[in-house]
């Protein structure tokens, strides 16, 4: 059952066997698994309860509804804009549906380096299968290629780059292309229509519009959480207390460590908040003579993984994908000013874009400012900068190979090149403190798992080393960048967390 927060008119105290903070990829899975097994579950979500009936396909309406801070939170030096979903269902609601299993090379590395030998691909296989069946993961095919993805495929094939159709959690997709602001037709296997729906039917109490302030604990044992309602009948921010012997943090890699800090949870070796990986994302645009209409159709049905060669190197590399956005986001992100910008926007329908996710070696940290808000410190190291420049070159090569008339590089001012040889500008400009501006959709690693409590906070099941009854079930637990979009990894690890909680 889902609470109508507009009916709250006073302070509330609830009791449960398990209280879950956050309702995205991790929290929803734990909630669904535990509630279906008969546990008394309470789920607390800071965002609102929005359903497809309220998904308007209008950016100006949906970004504030579905994303924290209306879309992005910048790093302290404003070099990366970090997006986090904030709604019942979390980031799964505005996701592009990318479904990658945790690469076996990454799992192997975690086993060797962090004592997580029980996380082999074989050990996780049943969790992957279970999650993928539940959210409807399928491989995309030629029928799902929009013109933007055809550009990526055509350019990559001409250059001999290894690529493939990607796996998505969408069923009978209509190809409207508005995935990033919520599927208005319920064709996406998001957390709300899958795990949370099942949790609710099984009796879980799901409370949107709640900000959790602290995990309460005593003598190394969890007691529950305290927080407040962000919405109510009388406009007051009434207090909420949930008494529970088990608390699961699943608020994401920026907010879960904030809760850790605010709650004075034990961290004797100062691990919390460190090891932040952002999986930085950058977009390179190509202008064509023909209509591309990149905003139409499944946004990322094809990918080039030639340069994410984990057999060769467990660190570094990047995944190339098609990128698209509706006009407001496009106009905000496209470089340049004045007539330059106007000219680029006039080419909007003829613009294809190639983006890349960087498997970052660099790590930053998230700390709390005086108001308890997250401050993100993150800087790319030299090896990652090298990869970024190479990825920019590869992306522009692909666009030219596919027939682009010109390529627009992601600097602040308009840098438009008309031939492949002009890519030397990438080397000349390098990666500076103020450009290019990266995006991040996959922050991870801030409450990392491991066997050694001196360098980790939770074990391979997400159980906190030093606090009985406390678990973490989101991308915070990854010891390094997971290299690929993390939705399936988070859900599979959360499945294991639920199984551990059930096992007592």
């Amino acid at each position: 059952m889902i609470l109508d927060s507009a009916t709250v008119d006073g302070d509330v105290t609830l009791s449960a066997e398990v209280c879950i903070v956050g309702s995205g990829a991790g929290g929803s899975v734990v909630a669904g698994e535990l509630a279906s097994a008969g546990k008394a579950v309470v789920v607390l979500e800071e965002g609102g309860y929005w359903t497809s009936e309220q998904f308007t396909q209008r950016e100006e309406v949906m970004y504030p509804r579905l994303y924290r801070q209306g879309g992005t939170k910048p790093t302290a030096d404003y070099t990366v804009l970090v997006s986090q979903g904030r709604a019942l269902g979390g980031s799964t609601i505005p996701s592009f549906c990318l479904c990658f299993r945790t690469p076996h090379q990454i799992l192997g590395y975690w086993g060797e380096r962090f004592g997580l030998g029980d996380l082999s691909h074989e050990a996780l296989f049943s969790a992957f299968e279970r999650v993928e069946q539940r959210i409807g993961v399928k491989e995309m095919g030629p029928e799902h290629l929009n013109e933007n993805n055809r550009v990526l495929m055509r350019g990559g094939e001409k250059l001999g780059y290894r690529g493939r159709f990607l796996r998505h959690n969408r069923t009978d997709c209509l190809g409207c292309g508005y995935c990033a602001i919520g599927c208005a037709y319920d064709r996406k296997g998001d957390a709300l229509t899958t795990y949370l729906g099942a949790a609710s039917k099984a009796g879980a109490r799901i409370l949107p519009d709640v900000q959790v302030e602290k995990v309460t604990h005593e003598g190394g044992v969890v007691r529950g959480v305290s927080g407040r309602f962000l919405r109510s009948k009388d406009g007051g921010h009434h207090a909420l207390s949930v008494k529970a012997p088990v608390v699961v943090l699943a608020a994401g890699a920026l907010e879960s460590p904030m809760l850790w800090f605010r709650s004075d949870l034990p961290d004797p070796h100062h691990v919390a908040g460190k090891n932040l990986h952002l999986h930085p994302y950058l977009v390179i645009a190509g202008i064509f003579d023909e209509t591309i209409a990149a905003w139409q159709g499944p946004p990322q049905s094809y990918g080039i993984d030639e340069f994410l060669n984990l057999d060769k190197s467990i660190e570094g590399g990047y995944l190339l994908l098609a990128a698209a956005a509706q006009p407001i986001a496009s106009a905000a992100l496209l470089p340049g000013l004045g007539s330059d910008h106007r000219r680029l926007m006039a080419s909007y329908a003829r613009t294809a874009a190639v983006a890349f996710f960087l498997h970052d070696r660099s790590s930053g940290r998230v700390t709390a400012d005086a108001r308890g808000q997250a401050v993100i410190d993150y800087h790319l190291g030299e090896e990652d900068k090298h990869d970024v420049m190479e990825a920019m070159r590869k992306a522009s090569e692909i666009l030219f190979a596919a027939g682009a008339r010109s390529v627009v590089l992601p600097y602040n001012d308009l840098v438009e090149i008309h031939q492949r040889t002009a890519q030397t500008v990438i080397d000349e400009r390098g990666i500076l403190a103020n450009e290019p501006l990266f995006l991040s959709f996959h922050p991870q690693g801030t409450l990392r798992m491991g066997r050694d409590p001196r360098v980790s906070l939770v074990d391979s099941f997400g159980a906190a080393h030093g606090v009985k009854g406390l678990y973490v079930a989101d991308a915070s637990v990854f010891p390094t960048s997971v290299a690929v979009p993390p939705q399936i990894s988070v859900m599979a690890f959360a499945t294991r967390t639920a199984q551990r909680i059930l096992a007592g």
């Binding site: 609470l3 910048p74 302290a76 905000a332």
Partner: protein, 203 residues
């Protein structure tokens, strides 16, 4: 009219302002943000010489309306008057949180009068020639101060929201707009209605 002058910031002033600055959300995460917030507090706050806005305003003052209109036109290269970008943004930002609204008021103030500090111009932004406005905007866009880039990006986003969020602008860029309302497709899921609090606390 308020005096247009380069601000004189002292450490003592920064300390006095710190309490108020600390409550502000958008920019207070960096040292450069703190400095700019302090500057915003000492720059001129009003002027009688702005033209009256052509539409009733909910959020902007007359000077903010004029400032934002000039920013939007210079940033997006708008020449026509088909869309009143400032009026559109004025209508939309009233739904934002109080802290964000406060940030927008403050950003417009420092942007309009920051010409004295950052560009050594004797005129405020709205009185600059279009070419000088572009030059001034470039300074914000490429600044080494993260907070100035934040303000530029925020203003560019608001301009994009006000212009490219309006269907009248879509034809020129070839965008055909949302499916909803022009294509009938069935929704699949049946969502349970949210329940009143007593349903959750019962038992």
């Amino acid at each position: 009219m308020s005096v247009e002058r380069a601000p004189d910031l002292s450490q003592a002033m920064l300390e006095v302002l710190e309490g108020e600055i600390g409550r502000r959300g958008l920019l207070s995460g960096s040292a450069s943000g703190l400095v700019l917030l302090a500057l915003g507090s000492v720059l001129p706050s009003g002027c009688r010489s702005y033209p009256p806005p052509p539409v009733p305003l909910q959020f902007f003052s007359a000077q903010e309306y004029a400032t934002f209109q000039a920013i939007a036109r210079a940033t997006l290269g708008l020449e026509d008057e088909a869309v009143d970008v400032a009026a559109e943004v004025d209508r939309q930002v009233v739904a934002l949180s109080t802290s964000l609204q406060r940030d927008i008021h403050w950003m417009l103030r420092i942007f309009e009068h920051g010409t004295h500090l950052f560009d050594l111009k004797g005129k405020r932004f709205t009185r600059l020639a279009r070419e000088d406005q572009q030059h001034y905007l470039e300074g914000w866009m490429e600044s080494s101060l993260g907070a100035r880039r934040i303000i530029f990006r925020a203003l560019k986003l608001l301009a994009a929201l006000g212009y490219y969020g309006v269907p009248e602008s879509w034809g020129a860029i070839g965008y055909d707009g949302p499916w909803l309302g022009r294509r009938q497709e069935q929704r699949r899921a049946i969502f349970e209605p949210p329940l009143p609090l007593d349903a959750l606390t019962r038992g």
